[in-house]
């Protein structure tokens, strides 16, 4: 399987390039555009939430943006990834290529986008005077975890979306709920000792965002045990997703 993917590496590359370029093509502000929406979101939250939560967090804007940007990557994956097979129906009906290229290239281009947006996090860290710590070297580990987790989901949802067409709306709804169950606007310490804290722990996106916060914001070691468990879990999940995708992909050309 890996050999075939390797043979088709050029397709993967052109797909990723097309996706990133397609987004930014035609406007000088293009690159900015894809970051404006998370920035605006952050702005709104930063104005509204301190009132509601009576937050005592200093540097609240930086605190939020570190949660919002990975979350934006995640929601984009759920939206674009779920429909990726359907939106490539034309090519799928015309020619054979390993179908898993499509989910992999969406999630990869999402990752590259996120890595670019880490520059924004950097700017906020500098401007707020928080600065950087050596723990930032752990960034790739967290990014890989989020990559595997997203890819696992996209394998499953993009394949099922062919057979159940309204899946994308169901996913959008679930993602909206998950937003509140993920410590993006708040820190999980607020719920320490309550069942909610356990719930947050069970949500992989929760641990992922906490880890980004640890390495960027709190400048401390993320919870290593959680990370190791997550790597294993997400890798396993991704492999299961892959096999399900492979199985369902045989019917794609007939069903799309």
């Amino acid at each position: 399987m890996l050999k075939e993917l390797y043979n088709y590496r050029e397709l993967l590359k052109t797909n990723v390039k097309k996706e990133i370029r397609g987004k930014y093509k035609g406007s000088f502000l293009g690159i900015l555009w894809s970051f404006i929406s998370p920035l605006l979101m952050t702005l709104v939250y930063a104005i509204v939430f301190p009132f509601i939560l009576k937050s005592t967090e200093p540097h609240y804007v930086t605190f939020i943006i570190i949660g919002v940007l990975p979350w934006t990557w995640f929601t984009n994956m759920m939206a674009n990834g779920t429909t990726i097979i359907l939106s490539n129906a034309g090519v799928i009906k015309k020619v054979y290529f390993p179908r898993e290229i499509l989910p992999i290239s969406v999630v990869t281009s999402g990752m590259i986008n996120f890595l670019i947006s880490c520059l924004i996090i950097g700017i906020f860290l500098i401007c707020s005077g928080i600065g950087f710590s050596p723990y930032i070297l752990l960034l790739p580990v967290v990014v890989i975890i989020q990559f595997l987790f997203s890819l696992g989901i996209v394998f499953i949802t993009s394949a099922i979306d062919i057979y159940i067409r309204d899946l994308e709306y169901i996913i959008a709804f679930l993602v909206n709920i998950l937003f509140y169950a993920t410590p993006i606007l708040y820190s999980p310490e607020m719920f320490a000792g309550t069942p909610i804290a356990t719930l947050i722990k069970l949500n992989p996106m929760g641990t992922i965002i906490n880890s980004y916060r640890d390495i960027f914001f709190y400048k401390q070691m993320p919870d290593i045990i959680s990370l190791v468990v997550l790597i294993g879990g997400c890798l396993g999940f991704c492999i299961i997703g892959y096999f399900l995708f492979k199985k369902l992909s045989k019917g794609f050309a007939e069903e799309v």
Binding site: K13, T14, G90, I92, K94, V95, Y163, K250
Partner: protein, 242 residues
């Protein structure tokens, strides 16, 4: 070593015919247990071995299952029963221009299209000149593909596909592309590939052309192989269906 390029073994292909295809979650749940589709058997226990270096024509009337068989060979669709194995790099020219992006230039689209066929950047670079030359598009190669005429579009797509250097080539009904000059060029290219020991399977209704090109003829009728052999198959087919 004479080896089979394509082995089709007892292949049956059913298509489900839905009159009202359930596609939402609710419909899927509501119609869970109901008999939802008629089954339409398009190929019935077809077995066919194609040797390396053979040039085979699939003939038959409309709807007899030729395109379905080619799609099965390329793995766009999969058999309901039976098994198909292929040996060697395979390229299919079933529908041209897969992955073409209208806003990009012809040259850029060569890269997109060839990548779908599984070529790497270096391999495409190496073939780029050949592809452009074969297409005879001249300066238009750097214009967006949306400005092409349909014949020009086909020329470009065909040039990419034919230059992929596959060992097995599957072609469906596309020899009618382009003007007389380009058609002739395609045929001599196919002739050349045939002489360099590539395996070619071609579906066509232009019997005279395939008669010249191919060495073996398989007549498919109602999802079964009715005849398989040399030129006599064409004569017989003409008698019955011509």
């Amino acid at each position: 070593m004479p080896k089979n390029a394509i082995v089709v073994k007892d292949v049956t292909k059913n298509f489900k015919l839905y009159y009202d295809k359930p596609s939402t979650l609710k419909e899927r749940l509501v119609f869970w247990n109901k008999k939802k589709a008629d089954v339409h058997t398009v190929l019935k226990e077809v077995s066919l071995d194609i040797k390396k270096g053979e040039t085979v024509a699939l003939i038959g009337i409309n709807g007899s299952g030729k395109s379905t068989l080619l799609k099965l060979m390329t793995k766009i669709i999969y058999p309901t029963e039976g098994k198909i194995t292929t040996n060697g790099k395979l390229t299919s020219l079933l529908e041209l221009g897969a992955g073409f992006h209208p806003d990009f230039t012809g040259r850029e689209n060569i890269y997109f299209n060839a990548a779908i066929f599984g070529l790497t950047k270096q391999e495409i670079d190496k073939r780029l000149e050949d592809i452009i030359e074969f297409s005879e598009l001249g300066e238009f190669i750097d214009s967006p593909v949306r400005t092409y005429s349909s014949g020009m579009y086909m020329r470009l797509a065909f040039s990419v596909a034919i230059n992929v250097d596959a060992e097995i080539l599957l072609i469906d009904e596309i020899l009618a592309v382009g003007d007389a000059h380009f058609q002739e060029k395609c045929f001599s290219k196919l002739e050349e590939l045939k002489n360099s020991n590539k395996t070619i399977v071609i579906v066509s209704h232009s019997l005279q052309s395939v008669k010249k090109l191919c060495t073996r003829f398989v007549w498919i009728h109602e999802g079964k192989i009715k005849m398989d052999g040399n030129e006599k198959v064409i004569d017989e087919y003409m008698k019955v269906c011509g």
